[in-house]
C-alpha cells in the first residue's frame, strides 16, 4: 500500500543575518534532509527536544512554510510546489491542531464562529446548515450545545483544545498534524484529550502526524516513531522497537530520561552532557551532530563523517556509525 504522506529529503533553511549591512551570512538548517512515510490510518510520532525541527516539518507539510528543498507527496501527488488556489483544496485534506489552545483561537469569535469558519471557506456553508454541522462537530468532541455562543476565554485549556479539534475536523480532513496537542494541559485533562483523539481516529479513519517532546504520550499514541536531533532523523522504528530496543545513543538517553511514575523502576540513567545548543548550530556535515554529547564509545569516523540513516534491521533505521546497515544478503 502506498503511503498517504511521503516526505523525501525535506530541507528548510532559515537565513542568519549579521555583519555590517545585515547581509545573510549563513543559514540555519532547521530541517536537514528528512525523509519519512506515513501510511493511512496510522500515527507517526515526531519526537525531539526544542529546536530539533519537529514543528518546522509539520508546517512544511501544510505549506505554511516553504520548504527549501525536497519533496512532499500527499496521496501520491507532489504538493511541494502547489499554487495558492490548489493549496486551499489541500488544506481541506490536511489540518493542524496547535499546542497553545488559547493562542490558536480567535478571542473575538464565538465558538460557533470559530468552528463554522472552515465550513464557510471550504464548503461555502452558512446559516442553519452550517450551524447544524457545527453543533454536530461540537457533540463529537464533547462540547455542549450551550457553548455555541460563548467565547474561547470562557473555557478551560482542555475545553479550548476540544474547540481546536472540532475546527480541524470541520472540513473532514484525512491527515491531521498534531503539534504538541496536550503539552499545555494537566495530566487528567491530557488523558481525556488523548482518548478523544484516538476515538476520532477510529471513527473517521484519520491519519495523524503526532509532534511531541513527551515520550510517554508518544508511546501511548503512536504506531511508529521518528526521533529528530538538530533537524535530522536519527532513528525510526515501530513504537515498541524504539522503546524496547533503541539503538541510537540519543534515543537511549532520551528514553532513560523519561521520568516514569514508578519509584521502583530500576534502570541505568544516562545523563547527557551539554545541551542541544552545545552542538554547533550551523553544523556542516563535519561528522555526527550528536557526537559532542554522545555517551557511547566514539569511533574515529564520528567526528568526521556524517552518518546516514540506514536500515539496521527490518523496519528499523538508525543514523549512527556504531550500527552498520544490514547487508542485502541478510535481508533475503
Amino acid at each position: 500500500m502506498s503511503p498517504l504522506l511521503e516526505v523525501n529529503n525535506l530541507q528548510k533553511h532559515f537565513p542568519v543575518r549579521g555583519g555590517l549591512l545585515n547581509r545573510i551570512v549563513s543559514d540555519f538548517r532547521a530541517v536537514d534532509d528528512v525523509s519519512f512515510a506515513l501510511r493511512e490510518g496510522k500515527t507517526l510520532g515526531l519526537v525531539g527536544e526544542s529546536g530539533s525541527g519537529k514543528t518546522t516539518i509539520g508546517k512544511c507539510i501544510l505549506r505554511l512554510l516553504e520548504p527549501t528543498a525536497g519533496q512532499i507527496l500527499y496521496d501520491g501527488a507532489d504538493i511541494t510546489h502547489l499554487k495558492q488556489r490548489d493549496l486551499r483544496r489541500l488544506r481541506g485534506e490536511i489540518q493542524m491542531i496547535y499546542q497553545a489552545p488559547a493562542a490558536s483561537l480567535n478571542g473575538r469569535m464565538t465558538v460557533g464562529g470559530i468552528i463554522g469558519e472552515p465550513l464557510w471557506i471550504h464548503e461555502g456553508l452558512k446559516g442553519d446548515v452550517a450551524r447544524e454541522r457545527v453543533l454536530e462537530l461540537m457533540n463529537v468532541v464533547g462540547l455542549k450545545e450551550e457553548h455555541y455562543y460563548r467565547y474561547p476565554h470562557e473555557f478551560s485549556g482542555g475545553q479550548q483544545q476540544r474547540i481546536g479539534i472540532a475546527r480541524a475536523l470541520a472540513v473532514q480532513p484525512r491527515l491531521i498534524v498534531l503539534d504538541e496537542p496536550t503539552s499545555a494541559l494537566d495530566v487528567s485533562v491530557q488523558a481525556q484529550i488523548l482518548n478523544l483523539l484516538q476515538d476520532l481516529q477510529d471513527q473517521f479513519d484519520l491519519t495523524y502526524l503526532f509532534i511531541s517532546h513527551d515520550l510517554g504520550v508518544v508511546r501511548y499514541m503512536c504506531d511508529e516513531v521518528a526521533l529528530l536531533y538538530l533537524g535530522k532523523i536519527v532513528e525510526v522504528a515501530e513504537t515498541e522497537v524504539i522503546f524496547e530496543a533503541p539503538k541510537h545513543p540519543y534515543t537511549q538517553a532520551l528514553i532513560s530520561a523519561i521520568p516514569e511514575p514508578d519509584p521502583d523502576m530500576q534502570r541505568e540513567e544516562i545523563i547527557l552532557r551539554g545541551e542541544l545548543s552545545s552542538s554547533p548550530l550551523m553544523h556542516r556535515g563535519g561528522g555526527c551532530p550528536f557526537a559532542p554529547r554522545c555517551h557511547a564509545e566514539k569511533l574515529a569516523t564520528c567526528e568526521t563523517v556524517l552518518p546516514s540513516l540506514v536500515e539496521v534491521e527490518r523496519q528499523h533505521q538508525v543514523a549512527c556509525h556504531l550500527h552498520p546497515p544490514i547487508s542485502i544478503a541478510e535481508v533475503h
Binding site: 527536544e49 526544542s50 478551560s156 485549556g157 482542555g158 475545553q159 494537566d186 495530566v187 487528567s188 485533562v189 491530557q190 488523558a191 481525556q192 488523548l194 482518548n195 484516538q198 517532546h213 515520550l215 510517554g216 504520550v217 508511546r219 501511548y220 499514541m221 522503546f243 538517553a253 532520551l254 532513560s256 530520561a257 523519561i258 521520568p259 516514569e260 511514575p261 514508578d262 519509584p263 521502583d264 523502576m265 540513567e269 545523563i271 547527557l272 545541551e275 542541544l276 545548543s277 552545545s278
Partner: protein, 341 residues
C-alpha cells in the same frame, strides 16, 4: 525531632472583583530537616500558593490569610514584621522558579546578579551596630569575597568555566545553564530550605534529568531540605522521598513516595496516577479524571473532589473529610477510610 517547617490549617483567600477566591482551604504540611518533599497537583490546586506563603511572598492585599499558622524552626512566620522577613528570606529560604528566562535580569551580567545576591544575604546576616562598622572589611574586600563566593556557587551547581562565564549575560546561557545560575543564586545565603517551583517544566527531558540530578546531589552535599513543587508524577518518583498531593486548596494525601505509587488511597491520587501514559498501557486504556477542577470562588460543598469522584458517598457532599491515617506514615483526607483506622 522538631519540624523545620510546619504549615498548620492554612487558609488563604484572594479578593477579586468576581468574588472571594478561596485558594487554600486548610493546608497542613510538615517538613523535617533533610526532607525532600514533592508537592504535586494540577493547575490551580494551590501548590505554588502554599510554597509562596512560607517566605510570605503573596501580595496582601489582594491576598488574605484568614486562618492557620506557619512556623519555621519554631518561629511564627506570620507574625514577623516586614524587615524581619527580609532577613528571614535571605538566610533561611532559597527559591527557584519555573521560568529561568524571566527571573534573570537581561541587562546585567551573571556576576553582578550573583554578587548582589551574596552581598545582600551577607548584609542581612550581619546587623552590625554603628560603632563597630570601622572594623568591617573594606567594601572592595567584601565585593572580592562575594565574587569568590559567586564563582564557588557556580562550580557547586555544575556550570563549567564559572570563573570566565560569570562575566556573561543571561542570554549567553542556555535554558539549563540559566536554571543552574538561579539555583546558585538561591543557595547564596546557605538556606535551610530550598523551594523549587516547577524547576524543570520549561526544560527538555535530557536537561530535566541533569537538573534533577543536581538537586539530588546538593541535598546530599549540603544537607538541604527541598520542597519540590511539580505537576509531573514522574519527577516526584525520581527525586523525592515523600509526596503530598494537593487538590483544590488542600493536601488530600501524604505518604512516602513508594507507598503513594504502590498503594494510593485517595480516589484523586488514583485517578492522577492512572492518567499518566505509562509503559504497559495499551491503546484506549488510559483513564482520565472526568470533569474539571472546581471553581474556587464557589467551590463544591463538602469534599471539593466529590463532583468528580467515582466513589462519592452522601457524606462527601456535605462534610469536609479530615486527614486520617491509612497506613504507616500515610494519611489521606477521604471518608472512604474510617477515622480510627
Amino acid at each position: 525531632m522538631a519540624d523545620l517547617l510546619n504549615i498548620d490549617n492554612l487558609h488563604l483567600e484572594f479578593h477579586t472583583y468576581d468574588g472571594v477566591v478561596k485558594v487554600l482551604a486548610g493546608v497542613d504540611l510538615k517538613m523535617q530537616r533533610g526532607d525532600v518533599l514533592g508537592l504535586v497537583g494540577e493547575t490551580g490546586c494551590g501548590k505554588s500558593m502554599t510554597a509562596l506563603s512560607v517566605p510570605r511572598l503573596i501580595p496582601m492585599p489582594p491576598g488574605k490569610i484568614t486562618a492557620g499558622r506557619v512556623t519555621f524552626n519554631g518561629e511564627d512566620i506570620l507574625s514577623k514584621t516586614e524587615s524581619e522577613m527580609e532577613a528571614f528570606r535571605a538566610r533561611h529560604v532559597g527559591m527557584i522558579f519555573q521560568d529561568p528566562v524571566t527571573n534573570l535580569n537581561p541587562l546585567f551580567t551573571i556576576r553582578e546578579q550573583l554578587v548582589d545576591a551574596v552581598l545582600y544575604q551577607r548584609a542581612q546576616g550581619q546587623k552590625v551596630p554603628g560603632r563597630w562598622r570601622g572594623f568591617l572589611p573594606s567594601v572592595r574586600q567584601m565585593r572580592k569575597d562575594a565574587h569568590d563566593r559567586a564563582v564557588e556557587l557556580m562550580r557547586l551547581t555544575g556550570i563549567p568555566d564559572g570563573d570566565k562565564r560569570i562575566y556573561d549575560y543571561p542570554h549567553q546561557f542556555s535554558g539549563g545553564m540559566r536554571q543552574r545560575v538561579l539555583i546558585a543564586m538561591a543557595l547564596a545565603g546557605d538556606p535551610d530550605l530550598l523551594i523549587a517551583d516547577e524547576p524543570t517544566t520549561a526544560l527538555d527531558v535530557t536537561i530535566q534529568a541533569q537538573i534533577l540530578r543536581l538537586i539530588r546531589s546538593l541535598v546530599k552535599q549540603l544537607g538541604l531540605t527541598v520542597l519540590l513543587i511539580t505537576h509531573n508524577l514522574g519527577v516526584v518518583a525520581r527525586s523525592c522521598e515523600r509526596v503530598a498531593v494537593m487538590y483544590s486548596g488542600r493536601v488530600i494525601e501524604e505518604s512516602p513516595v513508594r507507598e503513594l505509587f504502590k498503594n494510593p488511597k485517595h480516589p484523586y491520587t488514583r485517578g492522577l496516577i492512572a492518567a499518566v501514559p505509562q509503559k504497559d498501557i495499551s491503546r484506549g486504556g488510559l483513564e482520565g479524571i472526568p470533569g474539571m477542577i472546581p471553581n474556587l470562588i464557589d467551590p463544591p460543598a463538602g469534599c471539593r473532589f466529590h463532583p468528580r469522584c467515582p466513589q462519592v458517598m452522601d457524606i462527601c457532599r456535605s462534610a469536609v473529610p479530615p486527614a486520617v491515617s491509612v497506613g504507616a506514615d500515610h494519611s489521606a483526607a477521604c471518608f472512604l477510610y474510617p477515622e480510627d483506622a
